[in-house]
Amino acid sequence: MKDNQKFNTYQTPSWCPGCGNFGIWYALKSAYTELGFDNNDVCMVFGIGCSGNLSNFIKVYGFHSIHGRTLPVASGIKLANHKLNVVATSGDGDGLGIGLGHFIHTCRRNIDITYIIHDNRVYGLTTGQTSPTSPQGFQSKSTPFGVIEQPINPLALAIIQGATFVARGYSGEIDHLTSLIIQAIKHKGFAVIDVLQPCVTFNPNFSYPFYNPRVFKLEDAGHNPEDFNNALKYALDVNNDKIPIGIFYKISKPTYEESSEELRDKPLSEYDISDISISELIEEIRES
C-alpha cells in the first residue's frame, strides 16, 4: 500500500470512522497503482454526497460535479478526449435517485467510462434520509414510518439497458474490489460497479456484520459473466440471504467512441482550431 501514497492529497478523509468509503478509497488507489498509473493518467468525476467528498482525498485530475450529474460530465470529458481514463463515482442517491435517468441513458451508450456507485442505501451527507436503494420499510428522517417503494436494482437496470461490464463490489473486501476496479478500467465500454458501502452512522443495519457473512464471490460460484440470463437472474435475486459480489455480466460491444466517426482520427482535444476554414461550406450554401 506504500506506493498508493502518491494518490493522497493534503486533506485527510473526513468520513466517519469505519465508513465504507475508506475501503473504496483504498481500492481505487491500489487499482491505480497496480495499473501503473501516474496521477495524471486518470480523470475522475464525482457527485455530491459523502461519496463525492472523495474528490478532495484522491490526487488525480478531478471534477466534483453537482448532485446527480457525474455521468454527463464524465461523458463530456471522455468525448472531448477519449484517450483519457475516465472514472466516475456517485452515491446511491446521487446516481440512482436524482441521477437515474443519466445512468440508464449512459448504459445505452456503452461509453468507455468506469462507474462506481457508493451504495450505502441511505443519504449520508444530508444526514440520513432514505435512498432509492434503501429496503422497503426503511425508517429514516424522511421516512419515519418506513419506505413504501421497491428499491432500485442498479445491476439489473444496467444489464438490460446496455452496460457491457456489470459488477458488484463490497468495500469490506478491498482486494476483491481493487481487482474489479482494475478489470473495469481495462474493459472497453461502460463498466458499472455497485459497491456495498456501509454507512456506519446512518444505516448501521447494513454494515459489516450484515454483509460479511452474506457475500460470496460469483467467480467462486462458477458464474459465466457472458451469460446474460444468469447474470440477470443473479441481479434480480434480491431477497436471498446470499449476496453475490464479482462480475455479473461482461461482453464486448463497440463503444460509443468507436462508433463515432468524428473521433476516429484523434481525440477532439488534439485538433488545432486556430484556423478553421468554412469558405467551402459557405460556397455550397450560396450555391444551394
Binding site: Q11, N40, G76, I77, L84, S269
Partner: protein
C-alpha cells in the same frame, strides 16, 4: 413602376411546404443580388395549422418584414381571411382556383394550381406553380426561377427536378397569358452581386464551426433545434461531436465536461430547456470552466407559444442559478452579428473562463436574411490562459495572479492536476469553507469584470444626431427599428437608435451619453415588462418613461413602430 421593392407572402396549411416555397422565392431574389428578409409563421403542430412565409425584397438593407403586401399567394381560404386585409391597393392575390367559390375580392388572380400541378406531374408541385406565377408578375426571367428550383431538388433525382421545373414554367406561362392588368413591381438584378440566404441559427452554427466548436450537446427545442439539425450532418466533416442528449441537464454538463477537457463546446436551447440548465450554469462559473450557451427565446411562461417570438428571458438569463457570478450576454440583431458574436462568445468564454450567452429569439433564429459575405466578420481565435503542459507547483486557482484569471491546465497535462470543484475551494480546487478563502475566491471570480467590460461590444448608434426620438433596444428588434427609422425619415421625423449587443454586464458609459443627450428616450422590447428598461434604470438611475412593448408572439413590424413613435411626437 417600382423596382426591387416587394413584399410577398405565401400562406397555406401546415405540411403543405409553405416554408420551402418561401425560401426558394427568396433565393431567386437573393441571387439577383437583392436584399431579402424572410419571416415564417407556423403553429406548434405538424399539421392542420396555418403556415405562412413572408419575403420582403429591397435594393438595400435594412430589410424587414412589413405589413402591407404586394403579392399574397393563397393556397387556402384561411390565408385570404387572415392576410388579404394587408394587401395593398395595387397588390395582387394569387389564389388557387378552387377558392373561386367563396366569391372573394376583385384583386384576386385565380391560378389553377392543382390542375397545372397535375399536368406537371403531381399535386405535390403545386407550390412551384405558385412560385413560377409569382415571378411572372415580377418580370423575372423564368430561367432564374428554374435555376433555384433545380438546386433545391438537386438530390431528388432527375424526375423530381423535371416535374418541379415544369410546374414553375406552367405557373409562369399561365400568368403571362392570362394576367391582363399591369403589375407595378419588377425585380431587376444588381450587377455582380449574388447573395445567399441564412437564418440566424445557420449563422450561429457557421460562426461556431469557424470558432472551432468541437462538441455540441443539445436536446431539441424550438426555436433552437435547427442548430442541431444544421450541425449534425456536418459532424464528420468538421470533427464535431454532435450529441442529442437525454435532456438539457445532460447537454450542459456534457458541454462543461468537454470544455474542462480542453475543447470548445456549446449548448443550444430555448427558455424551458435553459431552466433545466440553470443549476449547471453555476457550476461552470465556480469551476471557472468556459461555456457557450445559445438561448433562443420564445414566449413564456412555460411551454407558452413554442413557435413564436419574444424577448422575455433576458433577466432570467442574467440572474439564473443560485449565488452570484459573472456572465456575459450577447444579443445580435441580425444574421451577420449572430455569426460574429458567437465567435466572440467563444473567445470571451475561454479568455475569462466564464459562461457566455448568445441570446437569440425565434425571430432572429428562424427568419432568414440575404447575406453577401461573412468572412469580414471573422474573429481571431483567442483561447486565453490555456496550458497543455504545466510547471511543477501549478495551482489551478492561483490567487496570486493579478487579474484573477489563473491558468487552465488541460488533462492529462503532467503537473496540471486540479480539482474542478462545485464546492467553494482553495487554490488547488480542494474544498474549503474558510471565510478568508471564500472571500478571495469570490473576489478572484469577479475581478475580471474590469477586463471584460473593455472587450464587450459597444452598442451601435444609428440615425441622426439631432433626433426627436431616441430609441434603445437589444437583439432582434434591430432590423425592424432601422426600417421604421427610414420610413420616419422619409416623413421628416428624425430618430436615432442605440442598439445593444450586450445588455449584460451593463456598461453605463455605453449608454449614458446617448440618454443624456436625447430629447426623448424610448426603449423598445419584445416583452411585457420592459426588462431592458429596468436594467437601464437599475444601472443609471434614470427613469425610462417611454416604452414600446409587444408580447403577443409576433415581432414588431416597422409600420407599428412608426405609428407608435408618431404618437409619442404628438403627445
Amino acid at each position: 413602376m417600382r423596382v426591387n421593392d416587394l413584399n410577398w407572402k405565401i400562406g397555406g396549411e401546415a405540411g403543405e411546404g409553405i416554408m420551402v416555397t418561401g425560401l426558394m422565392f427568396s433565393k431567386v431574389c437573393a441571387r439577383l443580388g437583392l436584399e431579402v428578409y424572410n419571416y415564417p409563421e407556423y403553429p406548434s403542430r405538424i399539421r392542420g395549422g396555418h403556415n405562412c412565409y413572408q419575403v420582403r425584397v429591397r435594393d438595400n438593407k435594412p430589410v424587414f418584414a412589413e405589413k402591407g403586401l404586394d403579392i399574397l399567394v393563397a393556397l387556402n381560404k384561411e390565408t385570404i381571411d387572415l392576410h388579404s386585409n394587408y394587401v395593398k391597393e395595387d397588390g395582387v392575390i394569387i389564389a388557387d382556383s378552387h377558392l373561386k367559390d367563396y366569391g372573394l375580392s376583385e384583386r384576386i388572380f385565380y391560378l389553377p394550381m392543382d390542375d397545372l400541378a397535375l399536368s406537371a406531374g403531381g399535386k405535390i408541385t403545386k407550390n412551384n406553380v405558385a412560385l413560377g406565377a409569382s415571378f411572372a408578375f415580377l418580370s423575372v426571367p423564368v430561367e432564374n426561377v428554374l435555376d433555384t428550383v433545380r438546386r433545391a431538388f438537386r438530390d431528388k433525382g432527375e424526375k423530381v427536378i423535371g416535374m418541379n421545373e415544369k410546374a414553375v414554367s406552367l405557373g409562369y406561362d399561365y400568368v403571362k397569358e392570362n394576367f391582363k392588368g399591369d403589375f407595378k413591381i419588377s425585380l431587376k438584378p444588381i450587377d455582380d452581386k449574388k447573395n445567399m440566404v441564412l437564418t440566424g441559427n445557420e449563422a450561429i452554427s457557421l460562426g461556431a464551426i469557424k470558432a472551432g466548436l468541437k462538441l455540441y450537446a443539445a436536446y431539441p427545442m424550438t426555436p433552437a433545434s435547427s442548430i442541431l439539425h444544421f450541425l449534425a450532418p456536418l459532424s464528420h466533416r468538421f470533427k464535431i461531436l454532435v450529441k442529442h442528449a437525454e435532456d438539457e441537464i445532460s447537454a450542459i454538463l456534457t458541454a462543461i465536461g468537454a470544455n474542462f477537457a480542453g475543447v470548445r463546446a456549446m449548448v443550444g436551447t430555448s427558455g424551458g430547456g435553459f431552466s433545466l440548465m440553470s443549476e449547471a450554469l453555476g457550476m461552470s462559473a465556480i469551476t471557472e470552466t468556459p461555456l457557450v450557451i445559445v438561448e433562443c427565446m420564445r414566449p413564456g411562461p412555460s411551454t407558452g407559444m413554442p413557435t413564436w417570438t419574444d424577448q422575455g428571458d433576458l433577466r432570467f438569463i442574467i440572474h439564473a442559478s443560485q449565488g452570484e457570478f459573472l456572465r456575459v450576454v450577447l444579443t445580435p440583431g441580425d444574421v451577420k452579428e449572430a455569426y460574429q458574436l458567437i465567435q466572440l462568445a467563444f473567445n470571451l468564454a475561454e479568455k475569462y473562463q466564464i459562461p457566455v450567452f448568445l441570446l437569440s429569439d425565434k425571430l432572429l433564429s428562424e427568419s432568414s436574411e440575404s447575406v453577401d459575405d461573412l468572412s469580414g466578420s471573422d474573429l481571431k481565435i483567442e483561447r486565453g490562459k490555456i496550458l497543455r503542459e504545466a510547471q511543477e507547483g501549478y495551482k489551478r486557482y492561483d490567487l496570486s495572479i493579478e487579474d484573477g484569471i489563473s491558468f487552465r491546465a488541460i488533462p492529462p497535462a503532467k503537473n496540471g492536476l486540479q480539482l474542478a470543484n462545485s464546492d467553494e475551494h482553495d487554490e488547488y480546487g480542494l474544498v474549503s469553507e474558510e471565510a478568508h478563502i471564500r472571500e478571495k475566491m469570490l473576489e478572484k471570480r469577479f475581478k475580471r469584470r474590469g477586463l471584460i467590460v473593455k472587450e464587450i461590444p459597444k452598442p451601435n448608434l444609428y440615425g441622426d444626431s439631432d433626433a426627436d426620438i431616441s430609441l434603445i433596444g437589444f437583439g432582434s428588434v434591430k432590423l425592424s427599428v432601422l426600417r421604421a427609422m427610414e420610413i420616419l425619415k422619409e416623413e421628416g421625423v428624425k430618430t436615432n437608435f442605440l442598439h445593444s449587443l450586450c445588455p449584460h454586464p451593463f456598461v453605463s458609459d455605453h449608454y449614458l451619453d446617448f440618454i443624456k443627450k436625447a430629447k426623448r428616450v424610448v426603449v423598445i422590447e419584445n416583452n411585457y415588462t420592459g426588462q431592458f428598461a429596468g436594467i437601464i434604470q437599475e444601472n443609471l438611475c434614470i427613469k425610462i418613461d417611454n416604452l414600446i412593448l409587444k408580447d403577443d408572439g409576433r415581432p414588431f413590424f416597422p409600420d407599428e413602430i412608426v405609428e407608435k413613435i408618431k404618437k409619442y411626437l404628438r403627445s
